[in-house]
Amino acid sequence: MAKYSVVGKRVPRIDALSKVTGSAIYSGDISLPGMLHAKIARSPYAHALIKRIDISKALALDGVKAVITADDIPGYKNRSPLLLVEMPHLAQDKVTYESQPVAVVAAISKDIAEKAVGLIKVEYEELPPVLDVLESMKPDTPPIYPNLYTNFISRPPTDVNARPSNIAYHMSVGRGDLDAGFKEADFVLENTFQTQPVHHGYLEPFAAVAKANVDGSKVTVWTQTQGVFSARGMIAEFLGLPATHVNMVPVEIGGAFGGKSFLPLAPLCALLAIKTRQPVRMEMSREEVLKDARPAPGSVNTIKMGVTRQGKITAVSARFIYDAGGFPEMSHTMFVRGNTFAQYKIPNINIEAYDVLTNKIPVTYYRAPSTPQSHFAIESQMDLAAKELGMDPIQFRLLNTAVEGDTAPSGEILPKVGYKETLEKMADYLKTKRSIKGANRGRGIASGFWHGAAGSWGAYVNVNIDGTVTLVIGVTDVSGSRTSVAQIVAEEFGLPMESVSVVVGDTDTAPWASPSVGSQTIYSLSHAVYRACQDAKEQLKRLAAPRLGVDISVIEFAGGHAVAKGDPQKSIPLAALARSSLGFRGEGPVVGRGSIAGLPPAPSIAVHAVDVEVDKETGKVKILSYVVAQDIGLAINPLSVEGQMQGAVAQGIGWALMEGYVFDQGKVQNTSFLDYRLPTAADIPMIDTILVEVNSTTGIYGLRHVGEPPIVGTLAALANAIHNATGVRFKSLPMTPEAILKGIQQVKK
């Protein structure tokens, strides 16, 4: 008999009905009476000083209700905009990337707002843009921000010799003796790998609607955000208001993948609503999304690796450089510490990581931030080392795999992890699959690691008078989280799914929730939900025991009843308990409460195997088959877990083979889906999934993190497969047909 009755079942999402019928409400669907429309005036230059901004003509246009510039933003008066992370940066004295917002207009129609944007006159003095990270890092390159010091954003370090730098952050971690480690090696490989900036490509562009109260002291905001409470904090900081004077209303989110913690519109929209006392709507076009809604950074990553003939890695020296673009706020180096080489046992290691400013679109986090980039390098290098050894790539990884109790490069002692099991499951699977044969075909193997995050969460559970249960949480659903936590509630109360509803409340009513980032939501929110269930169940037991004439310890929950264990005749419906608790002599409504913080993450690994065929005439890569195995701890909803894995792999395929920004002097050239191509159904094969369930010791039911790990290994898996198919090693992405043809021709020469 299965251990659980609802947990572990393939359950359709509880939000699916509203989505297949078109009734689900997204930010752009919100419309309020008397609503104004706002548009942003943007910089035409990648790097320029602002001499003067003249908004008088725009303000004078009939139908224009307000124009704001950086001077109007209360938050900028309290803090440097450099420290206001994931918010729009209205330029003050200079612009540091093309399309940086300079002013915003609110008017009675979109057309008038757009016309007014054209009337804003900005006098610029163009500066030469800094475009290349390696160039930007050099000490003699003029700093983009004269007050930016490495690791000391916007304030000088105590070291009086410190000079401003374009290196926003630098992280260094290591252990052992590198020289001794490399000496011990039989061979040393050193390679540099490059990745391009890519966009999340969520299909829903940004939109926001805001409405202020009568005296402008409070504002309600509808916008797509991965965290309503984090968004509330950011908007309040921007407006100079107490956090609770902003109410965030949750809406459906049309894809996020890390890109929708950033709030490019909502703070501006809220400020305009307060200024005008009218509701205001803002929307981004796809062009604005690609030019200003931050992508993932490009990177330049060098790895030196020493290996013995027996296949043991003795030493690694690695350097990861991320192109932060025009603002320093979203550090990727901080993720490098916990997420590089953690799945391997390497006695001597040194890792350096840098976030470096350039005059390009600033970046933000995208599904396992920093890690697909770092693993493109790491897992390509692992493949090259296995080749040098003439060893099976899974065997080589197994020889070096870290297990529970090993120390990761960050110094963390690894908890129970399923790296070994996942590699073994993939090896077993590949044994059942025919080996890949034929000209121009190859199989690529790679792994990807994600450490995960946890956050802090609350949950309420109401046991209703009809015997159903309502769960109230405060986190928007970007991964099927509502369905998974509903399964937990159903499991704990012995109820069918139909008897459980989930309400995502606004920030005025819901319990606190961290944002849905770091693959943490279901993993850690489930603790709060589980505890709220136990709390409510204890209350129900206390109600049921005297009514059934049994001891509290024998009461269980099944089929919508509280039942005496071993004596099923003694049972009472939850509805009766809930109703009776409300009477004059009742005990009061049954409300369960649960909360959690400080949960240690449960690292997860995914292993990829992809078979490709490369057309040597056109350079086109055809993916023949793709399989990904992931240690997910325990799948609450396998349907949902598979969907996360398949979606992540498809994004990785786009990243590896076709996507990428094209810049000219820092200016984005591909500003629509016609020239920033995302994979279509015709570009992607069926993606087979292997769910490995090595229960974590920290997650409820043994859960681990799910959504991010499966993108990480995709890029290297494809490069490794293409190498096997063509004999050419591609160290730079994307591996477009043009790049592959060029690579093949260079080898021929």
Binding site: V20, G28, L203, E204, L639, V649, F673, L674, T680, I684
Partner: protein, 152 residues
């Protein structure tokens, strides 16, 4: 100007050069039709015009006068979901849901013209509709399951 949407006649006030998408979303309040790119390259705004799947961002109101338009809101009949709607739910083909209305309508038009397609034909058939969440796997399976059930 009069247009017919989901079997209902509407007198519309928007100008004839307004896109059908804007008429649907802003004048008729049919927000199930989504705007993802406004250049006809993502398929989020797909509607059926005389049974054909069309990007409503590329069509102006004047072009659809007298034609029969179906949006996602009009696909279920008498409270019964269309088999594709049910299949998308059951197969886990819905994640964020932003592409879902467009893909379901594109799939309907496609299956109407090719009731028993191969997997590769399905993939080509919906290649004008982007999905960023699912990797298309479960979407293709949902469409395949409807095609199989039509076989009887």
């Amino acid at each position: 100007m009069r247009i017919r949407v989901n079997s209902k006649e509407y007198d519309i006030a928007s100008g004839p050069a307004t896109t059908l998408l804007d008429v649907l979303r802003y004048e008729l309040g049919l927000t199930g039709t989504k705007e993802g790119c406004s250049t006809g390259s993502c398929g989020s705004c797909t509607v059926l015009i005389d049974h054909k799947a069309v990007n409503s961002c590329l069509v102006i109101a004047a072009e659809v006068e007298g034609k029969d338009i179906v949006t996602i809101e009009g696909l279920a009949q008498d409270g019964i979901l269309h088999p594709l709607q049910q299949a998308f739910m059951d197969a886990g083909a819905v994640q964020c849901g932003f592409c879902t209305p467009g893909i379901i309508l594109a799939a309907k038009a496609f299956l109407d013209s090719n009731p028993h397609p191969t997997e590769s034909e399905i993939r080509q058939g919906i290649s004008g509709n982007l999905c960023r969440c699912t990797g298309y796997d479960k979407i293709v399976r949902a469409i395949m399951s409807v095609s199989r059930s039509q076989r009887g």
